[in-house]
């Protein structure tokens, strides 16, 4: 519960200082993770699903939410290749499911991925296949973003006379 509430506090702080002001100014805000991360992670830790949703009801609903879906094996391989060591909470070691970090990571993140799959329909997340190359993913993401943002209009902003 404290894990969940501390993250919500941090989120509320960033929402009010970093997200809402630029939105009011008409800017585009890119959020690396959003409330959906909390929905998936907290539910996996045994917190009531509906309670977490109600807790985050103060959040602004994104115009576009992208979910980069990747199988657990790919995720483990990428993380281990890059930094060799998995983080304690990221591997769900606090839950005591396994003393082996890699094993614990697989079990914990496997459940987190199941939770994400449920969120896709519930919140209309756009799924991006994250197994593909960076270029492929980026091209797809650009087509999705283009549906929400009129690029022509964006470019004229800079040309406004001061």
């Amino acid at each position: 519960m404290t894990f969940s509430l501390l993250h919500a506090t941090d989120f509320a702080d960033r929402l009010l200082y970093k997200i809402v002001p630029p939105l009011k100014a008409g800017m585009i805000v890119l959020a690396d993770r959003y409330a959906y991360t909390a929905f998936a992670r907290d539910a996996t830790r045994g917190v009531d699903r509906q309670w977490v949703r109600e807790l985050y009801s103060f959040a602004v609903r994104p115009d576009l939410a992208l979910y980069f879906r990747v199988p657990i094996d790919v995720s483990v391989d990428r993380l281990l290749a890059r930094r060799m060591k998995l983080k304690f909470y990221e591997a769900g070691m606090d839950l005591g499911w396994s003393t082996n970090p890699v094993e614990s990571f697989r079990m914990f993140q496997g459940k987190v991925l199941d939770e994400y799959d449920q969120l896709v329909d519930e919140f209309g997340l756009e799924v991006v296949d994250a197994k593909g190359s960076i270029t492929e993913q980026q091209r797809y993401v650009r087509t999705l973003v283009a549906q929400h943002v009129r690029m022509s209009r964006m470019e004229t902003v800079d040309d406004e006379p001061v």
Binding site: M1, T2, L5, L6, A8, T9, A12, D13, L15, L16, Y17, R45, G46, V47, D48, Q50, W51, E54, L55, S57, F58
Partner: protein
């Protein structure tokens, strides 16, 4: 000012007592725990801690195991809350969530284990203080109740009721008015006296509005300390004694 004395039912007309208010904590089932949770509520400076200290001594002499828990006293959150209060970056939402985190920590680490072990838990303030403070600051009331749905409904809630005039006298005689207790963040008045008065009037109204919803036992806190303590003891005894007999007969002489 009423003092409902209803020694008959163990739940005192509060069907939720000892259970979660709302969705609760799924990984911590608490049904059937033998301990009792008693909350002493009331605004700043009303005399809660004095009453709790006296109540604790009396209960311990009678043979009960007693623990106290108090608002923002969690080891996890106390330093963070103090830091945030002093940094002027808190807004009403982060304020609420920091308090809720502190409460969740104490609930999991102090209150629930004590209830499991059969202690009487005396809570110096409970979620109603959080609901009142946030309510005054305009936070959505239904959202607040949902967030605090993981809280356990106390077996008894005593609300120490006082009028603002008496309160001002007491606070000035003891430690004086402080920034947060005066609601200076709300800009209700330039001067601390005006702000304290306006803020506490709003707070008292907010507490009053929760009395029925949460089964407050309203205690007239304008009286002398001993008189208030007598009333608390009478009501606590009426609640604890019949409930205690079957489980711990050794305590009854």
């Amino acid at each position: 000012m009423t003092s409902p004395s209803d020694p008959a039912g163990g739940l005192n007309g509060n069907g939720l007592a000892g259970r979660y208010y709302g969705r609760g904590i799924p990984y911590l089932p608490i049904d059937g725990y033998p301990g009792k949770l008693i909350a002493i509520e009331g605004t700043d400076g009303v005399g809660r801690s004095t009453q709790i200290q006296l109540l604790r001594e009396w209960l311990e002499v009678k043979g009960y195991g007693v623990i106290e828990t108090g608002w923002t006293r969690s080891p996890l959150m106390q330093p963070t809350i103090e830091l945030a209060k002093s940094s002027n970056t808190l807004n009403k939402l982060t304020f609420v969530l920091l308090y809720a985190t502190d409460f969740a920590d104490r609930l999991e680490k102090e209150i629930i284990p004590a209830l499991k072990a059969g202690f009487v838990v005396l809570s110096d303030r409970y979620i109603f203080t959080a609901l009142a403070r946030a309510g005054v600051r305009g936070v959505d009331r239904q959202w607040l109740r949902n967030v605090y749905g993981f809280a356990i409904a106390p077996h008894l809630v005593f609300y120490l009721n006082v009028d603002v005039k008496t309160l001002i006298g007491r606070v000035l005689e003891s430690r004086g008015m402080d920034f947060w207790e005066s609601g200076m963040d709300l800009k209700l008045g330039d001067e601390i006296y005006d702000s304290f008065r306006a803020y506490q009037v709003k707070l008292l109204r907010e507490y009053q509005s929760m009395a029925d919803e949460f089964n407050f036992r309203v205690v007239d806190a304008r009286r002398p300390i001993d008189r208030i303590q007598d009333e608390l003891r009478r009501q606590v005894a009426a609640f604890l004694e019949p409930a205690e007999r079957p489980s711990e007969p050794a305590l009854i002489r």
